[in-house]
Symmetry: C2
């Protein structure tokens, strides 16, 4: 039950210089704004930012566990039909806390998990070819019920289930997570009698992992959701102090804002030195990009704000992206995810004693090599003037990952205050959706379709 | 056997304006430099840039196919032990051309494929727990034989094979791809009698996918490597003309350079509207980052050059990154990968006729929805002044993907000329490697270790 720690030594001017590192004065200047940001956010906890309290919703946790217990052993596969915030948290926690080869394991009580977060016909069609819906539980997730991708998948798999099992028996193969009262998916639940869970009000998609959106599928595949929630609750407490240097969410938010606005680093690289945590980086990429990537400030000015999250994996990307990180433009700052204690101990055997380029490895462990490469990369980046911080996970556990999720959600909320934008909306995705509806010929979007067609370039430039 | 096309209409000033789009004058000004760059590159084809000719090395292709034929049906698993350029091409082509559920398919003659391109003990240890080395062929890939990650894995799996099968029988479970004459892995091949293939001279890791580095594992899992090579050879011919507007490699390189140096867009987003092509984007990310991310110009000045590749997946990332792409800073340009004809036709069933938010989907196909969302995203980005180009794949086939690989390798070589850097070295990765050797206690690196230890910050800043 160790603490997740943030080591920000290498992001400071005393280590990487004042051009690229944060000075004590810059941090001090953010003490007041950080305190105010925290107060503003905490004041909304019981109002519209209900996601902050998700770790404490114990009645809901029990309901999810009761359902998972009831379903245990009944299905070979659990399939999530959801996209964006309805998928990324589940992917992150499943990949962090189950084996990378979970879906290959000899089938015990735990089903395989597939998250179908795309509608490419070559993905959906292959899934139909390979897996038997009669052995599968589908968790359909959409707060509004209007998510076209998810609803198209729902219609498809619902029909296949009915063909295979009949209408009555198909019902228990579908579980719906949607708005508690309104929307088309809630209406469908009422008609069909599907099991359902709520997406509570005040819980936007990218802040929903600790709601039934993430908890239901995770509990179904054996994740210790209570451990995750305990970690999140512990971090929630750690993020109460108003002192910038004592509160990891405030400190992290201050670093992100300073790196972009004062040190001219538009890119936030998350480099996971853990295969298991790599996809937690994808979850954070949505949280950061969708929360802060905003055209308008809260007072209505055009600001075109937002850092760009870049995801990397150590040591793998040392052989792909590290050259750029070491020698390219000074336009990035780096966040390492590091794990002190892996679950597996594997020793490198000794052989070829006369071949020094190999023999030095013999008798050492994979952990030693992995950590040496991580630390070598960090030393090299630091010496090259590239500011970096490290989240130190004691191990990859439900408790440590739960801490991380809550910390980053709180941190991003505070960043919204520093950036002066609304961190909780996503107005920029509407335009593409409306254009897609128009191109699909959805009733009501005819004018937009005509406008797109008339505005398309007269001449295509091709090579 | 259709042609891969590059549609660059939406990257031009006539569509997105001169602040963000390329003007005819800017393209004209690059006609001469493009011609000279092409001549410079082509002159090195038979000298040091031997990767250009890989599609034409038919004797080698036959040797690979002969070996794959000999191994067919003998193993359940093929495992690549390689990292960076020894892994990314194989991952890209396997994910593009085999089913996303290939490893789950009822075992026919085609083995599963695993690419172990990391040394996280929790990855390596789980692999050991789950899979039987006695049913597995290991392809060990390192040109130098000094790649620590790969050699550590080789030592591990070699020992497990010997324990399980005895020394004599283990030999046929290992195939080595390394330098033809020198290096420690070549020496090991001689001692052990392993099957081996060469990494030819003049073929750097990130340009090696069409050498035995990629061809051997791909042939072993049933990829039509001749089709891929034919596509690459066809593109090689299409990239001969010296006219910028007639040569896709010259045009693509000119766009990349202009977007970064004239339009101030340091990020190159590759957004694959194809689940299958998503990991081809990872391959390109290495090619672009490692080739252009350079501190020094060829005349020795500090330039700290290089675009940052950002990988995205449509439609999935419409629900994650699109908000930022639409409304964030104007610091990106976008390359869509689009597929005209998917392999699977899946229709969305009709249901709930009275619920309009769902019923409009009934009777349409997943392809229609997928393409409408892609085109909607493209229209919306274009209207928001975000320049974009589209690679149009007629389908995801060996021939089309082969075209793409050769095009981008040639394009990146030309970019190197425009950027004025050496696109074929990677000096920036040495510092991290040496620091890792020092931290591992490898003989000969004691001084560096002492220096790292004495230079480490006196005080850690933690929260």
């Amino acid at each position: 039950m160790g603490r997740l720690e943030l080591d920000y030594t290498n992001a400071l001017s005393e280590v990487v210089g004042a051009q690229h590192g944060v000075t004590p004065q810059e941090l001090d200047a953010l003490a007041g704004p950080s305190r105010e940001a925290l107060r503003a956010i905490q004041a909304r906890r019981k109002v519209d930012l209900r996601w902050m309290d998700l770790p404490h919703e114990t009645a809901m946790h029990e309901r999810v566990l009761e359902y998972a217990g009831r379903m245990a052993g009944r299905f070979e596969n659990v399939v999530v039909l959801g996209i964006g915030g309805s998928a990324l948290g589940t992917i992150a926690l499943h990949s962090a806390l189950n084996s990378p080869y979970h879906n290959f394991e000899a089938r015990g009580p735990m089903p395989r998990l597939f998250v179908l977060d795309n509608i490419d016909p070559d993905l959906v069609g292959e899934f139909l070819d390979q897996f038997d819906p009669a052995q599968t539980l589908f968790n359909v997730i959409s707060k509004s019920g209007t998510t076209a991708e998810t609803m198209a998948q729902f219609l498809l798999f619902r029909e296949r289930l009915i063909e295979r099992l009949g209408h009555a028996a198909h019902v228990e193969h579908i579980c719906v997570t949607t708005d508690e009262r309104k929307g088309v998916l809630r209406e469908i639940v009422k008609r069909e009698g599907y099991e359902s869970f709520p997406v509570p009000d005040g819980v936007g998609g990218r802040f929903s992992v600790l709601s039934p959106v993430g908890l239901v599928p995770l509990a179904l595949v054996g994740i210790d959701i209570k451990g995750v929630l305990k970690g999140a609750a512990d971090m929630d407490e750690r993020c109460r102090p108003e002192d910038l240097r004592a509160n990891p969410a405030l400190l992290h938010a201050a670093l992100q804002w300073t790196m972009q606005s004062k040190k001219h680093k538009p890119m936030a690289v998350t480099m996971s030195y853990s295969q298991r945590l790599a996809l937690v980086g994808d979850w954070y990429a949505q949280l950061l990009a969708e929360s802060l990537g905003k055209r308008k400030s809260r007072d209505g000015r055009d600001v075109f704000a937002g850092p760009t999250p870049v995801r990397a994996l150590g040591v793998t990307d040392q052989h792909s992206q590290m050259q750029l990180y070491m020698e390219g433009p000074f336009d990035k700052w780096f966040t390492f995810l590091s794990v002190e204690q892996p679950d597996h101990a594997v020793t490198i055997p000794s052989a070829y004693a006369d071949l020094e380029a190999v023999s030095y490895l013999g008798g050492r462990t994979f952990t030693e090599l992995f950590h040496a490469e991580r630390d070598g990369a960090r030393v090299a980046l630091t010496e090259a003037g590239r500011p970096n911080v490290t989240f130190r996970f004691p191990g990859v556990s439900p408790h440590s990952v739960g801490q991380f999720l809550q910390l980053l959600e709180l941190s991003v909320a505070v960043m919204g205050e520093h950036y002066g934008i609304d961190a909780f909306d996503q107005p920029g995705v509407e335009a593409g959706k409306i254009a897609a509806y128009a191109l699909m010929g959805r009733p009501g979007f005819e004018a937009r379709r005509a406008q797109i067609e008339s505005a398309s370039p007269k001449r295509q430039h091709l090579v």
